[in-house]
Symmetry: C2
Subunit: 193 residues, 2 copies
């Protein structure tokens, strides 16, 4: 998606070690118009998968997932990383190693909101190692739901997440695909736009 790639080139920063700083428009300050365009793009790409819910992980997945859900007219559920007092005692919980946080995080979903028969579209900000998204897949499957698609704003192909997610057997869409961040570069996969 040209609009997102251009924004990454303009306001993103390669901090080294594969870390891309996008907190000026995605995950600290957020550009709602950009996120709205991304949400509509995801909605168009996943219009035929029959999703009944959009699932993401707090915190930075919320903005793109919310606007995808708005475009599709579906509820969104965000997995919590800590269990709030309003959540029932019995929950679905999985552990996912976090690359950027350097530790294992919990992902928690209430059985009230993901259930058998749900067709789940997973949306997140990054597809890097794929571990967070795979954790969301496990949560959905534990609830008896079916994952029907996976979308990420930005994919870093060199972290290998797409291979990890291949066994899930659903379409995986990324709006900006970065193939190389060595030596301060940000290189996008070339494809017909």
């Amino acid at each position: 998606m040209k609009m997102l790639e251009e924004r990454i080139l303009k306001n993103g920063r390669n901090l080294g070690n594969g870390i891309l700083k996008v907190d000026g428009f995605i995950n600290h300050q957020v550009d709602p118009l950009l996120m709205d365009a991304c949400g509509k793009e995801f909605a168009a790409r996943f219009t035929n998968v029959g999703a009944t819910k959009v699932l993401t992980a707090e915190i930075s997945g919320i903005a793109p997932a919310l606007l995808t859900a708005l475009a599709l007219g579906l509820p969104i559920v965000y997995a919590r990383k800590t269990k709030p007092i309003t959540m029932p005692d019995q929950v679905f919980l999985t552990l996912a190693p976090s690359h950027t946080k350097g530790r294992t995080i919990e992902l928690i979903v209430s059985p009230e909101f993901i259930a058998e028969g749900d067709k789940v579209l997973i949306i997140d900000d990054f597809l890097a190692t794929g571990q967070t998204i795979l954790g969301l897949v496990r949560l959905a499957q534990a609830a008896g739901a079916t994952v029907v698609g996976i979308g990420a704003l930005i994919e870093k192909t060199f972290d290998g997440g797409r291979d990890l997610l291949a066994p899930v057997g659903v379409p995986v869409e990324a709006l900006a695909v970065i193939t190389d961040m060595q030596e301060g570069k940000i290189v996008f996969q070339s494809f017909a736009r």
Copy 2:
């Protein structure tokens, strides 16, 4: 706002001790159409305050603040509760006692995104004790910005937050105002709709 009050009565639950469970439509599962309507309502109420940024706190403030910002065409900044690796060393940080979490939380904003001259509209999910919102006010003021308005989806008047915020001297708007949650009740302030 009638739509929000009706949804609270339909899907909210009074858990006792002043705790309102709204995780079916606001802060775990989110109804994007309801949040969009709330965002438009905030935008209408604050159309004349001259805001340049919307500020909220992660996590549950993000959805209403994002859709308010979308309606106003403004960037949104969400204060982080932990400092990500992409944030500069020098940040604005304040401590706020959290009623629902039973502990003090950190609220952190990067000086890259709130600056002198900014006119900040604060949007959050709840106005209860007002401590989180007051923390956001301190962050904005520390950055040299001016707070121009405060909005919350749900106000619980019996927690006294409105009085705490009165010295800020800006309009405080809540879309659903709850005056009593004793004995399992959910009582809204009556006003002309």
